[in-house]
Amino acid sequence: MLLETRALDAGYGQFRALFSVDFAVAEGECIAVIGANGAGKSTLMRSVAGVIRNAPEMVLHRGAPIGALSAAEVMKRGIAMVPEGRRLFPSLSVEENLLIGGQVRKAAGPWSLESIYGLFPILRERRHSPGTALSGGQQQMVAIGRALMSNPGLLLCDEISLGLAPVVIRDIYAALPRIRAGGTAMVVVEQDIGQALSVADRVYCLMEGRVTLTGRAADVTRDAIHAAYFGEAA
């Protein structure tokens, strides 16, 4: 198992956001995590990425306990995150934003500055612009490219469709299968259920910090998702 969480309880100070969450990603898999606002999806991602630190055994990477590691240490193990809100560095150009993604961990793999420009050609044209001068969709591409530069084994995508127009979302999601083909496993956190299910092998649904549904994307029914997403018969 590439990554799993076991009985993960995470939160912010005195506020608990996740309750005993069991979650797993296998090598090369693509997992969708869906749920309403505040359900705990981002908390789950941040716990895996090391932004939120927990007990060591709560998050396992290839069996090794990483729950207490810092974000930088987790990243060096090959788990990269595309953070919610993109969070490009305003002081860096597009190209520098990409470069910084790959300057700490140098791992072999298909992704480099050239291949990312191949994935998202528009970025090559805007390579010297400040990161924040781009449109939302282009910034999202930079954020994804930045995370890919370290050739991670696992890519965490936190709400990459947030604030983007549907046609832009389509373009971005069109790139995901190519990333998968490169050998990277992915976790896609979304409020947009349609897009998430279109790329995922399996899906988890969170509600109020608990896993309310899990199964193969192809197998889950609309009603089951509805119930899991909103709770009760909504």
Partner: protein, 287 residues
């Protein structure tokens, strides 16, 4: 043509103040920390160089070359062991810790070296001058100014042309997301402080060769450095040079009018800029 002479002297003095300020600007730009002990660290480095010169009998330039990595290590340790522990949203702890540090350094130097004025011997360069046509300038002030420019060019090169510089800028923008890139902010901060201490060593070299110094002059250097940074605008090293020059010129002009007014003139210039342009002349940093 006494005014041209005064002006040129003021500009060159600005180079020294820019050297004082560059380290301060660097550290503040990256981690929003103002080290109240900055001036005292410059004085400490000056004593270090003095010690090297008196004990080893070699040229101050060589001593400074050796002292620089020592100061880097000290800065690195200071940040790692002390300042990293108090950095956070509250501005009070770093302020108070560095204030305490300032007092400790000043009094430590007092105990170790007494309050006597000292000077780093500059050999043949002491009092040497160069005729530039419009004015005759001392070689030392000219060298100081040239060094200030060299330091700023070097720092800018680091910031904008290296991976380390990328890491500096990214950490300054968003330390959490920098962590997602594999960058440990605390380690970056330690490197930054170490680098600042190298600049401090250069500043100390020229401070010590130029005029007498004693343990108590640190705070005044901090104030000049700070004024240069504020006038220049946060985030711009060239702005810091401009700020230093403005202070330097104000001081020399003030002194030319009345020697008692030298320091006051510098402060007044600062307050005037603060009044008219609170963000400085060339603000760049996104705060």
């Amino acid at each position: 043509m006494i005014w041209v002479d005064t002006l040129v002297q003021g500009i060159l003095l600005g180079g020294l103040y820019a050297l004082f300020a560059a380290g301060l600007s660097l550290v503040f730009g990256i981690m929003r920390l103002v080290n109240l002990a900055h001036g005292d660290l410059i004085v400490f480095a000056a004593y270090l160089v003095l010690l090297g010169v008196s004990l080893l009998g070699i040229s101050p330039w060589v001593v400074a070359l050796v002292a620089a990595p020592v100061m880097f290590a000290l800065g690195w340790l200071l940040q790692s062991l002390v300042l990293n522990r108090v950095l956070g949203k509250d501005i009070l702890p770093p302020l108070l810790v560095t204030f305490g540090l300032s007092v400790v350094i000043q009094n430590g130097l007092l105990e170790a070296f007494s309050a006597d004025s000292r000077r780093i011997p500059a050999g043949t360069l002491d009092g040497a001058s160069l005729n530039l046509g419009i004015a005759t300038v001392g070689v030392m002030p000219l060298l100081t100014f040239a060094s200030a420019i060299a330091v700023i060019v070097a720092l800018n090169a680091i910031f904008y042309r290296t991976a380390l510089g990328r890491a500096f800028r990214a950490t300054s923008d968003d330390a959490v997301t920098a962590g997602l890139m594999g960058i440990e902010p605390k380690r970056i901060f330690a490197v930054a402080t170490g680098l600042a201490m190298v600049v401090v060593t250069i500043a100390a070299l020229y401070l010590g060769m130029r005029a007498n110094f004693d343990p108590s002059i640190g705070p005044a250097r901090l104030i000049y450095a700070f004024e240069a940074v504020i006038i220049g605008g946060l985030g711009s090293l060239w702005g810091t040079l401009a700020g230093g020059i403005i202070i330097g010129v104000a001081q020399t002009v003030g002194a030319a009018i009345n020697p008692e007014w030298q320091i006051l003139a510098g402060h007044v210039a600062f307050l005037l800029v603060l009044l008219v342009r609170p963000r400085g002349l060339f603000p760049r940093a996104v705060d």
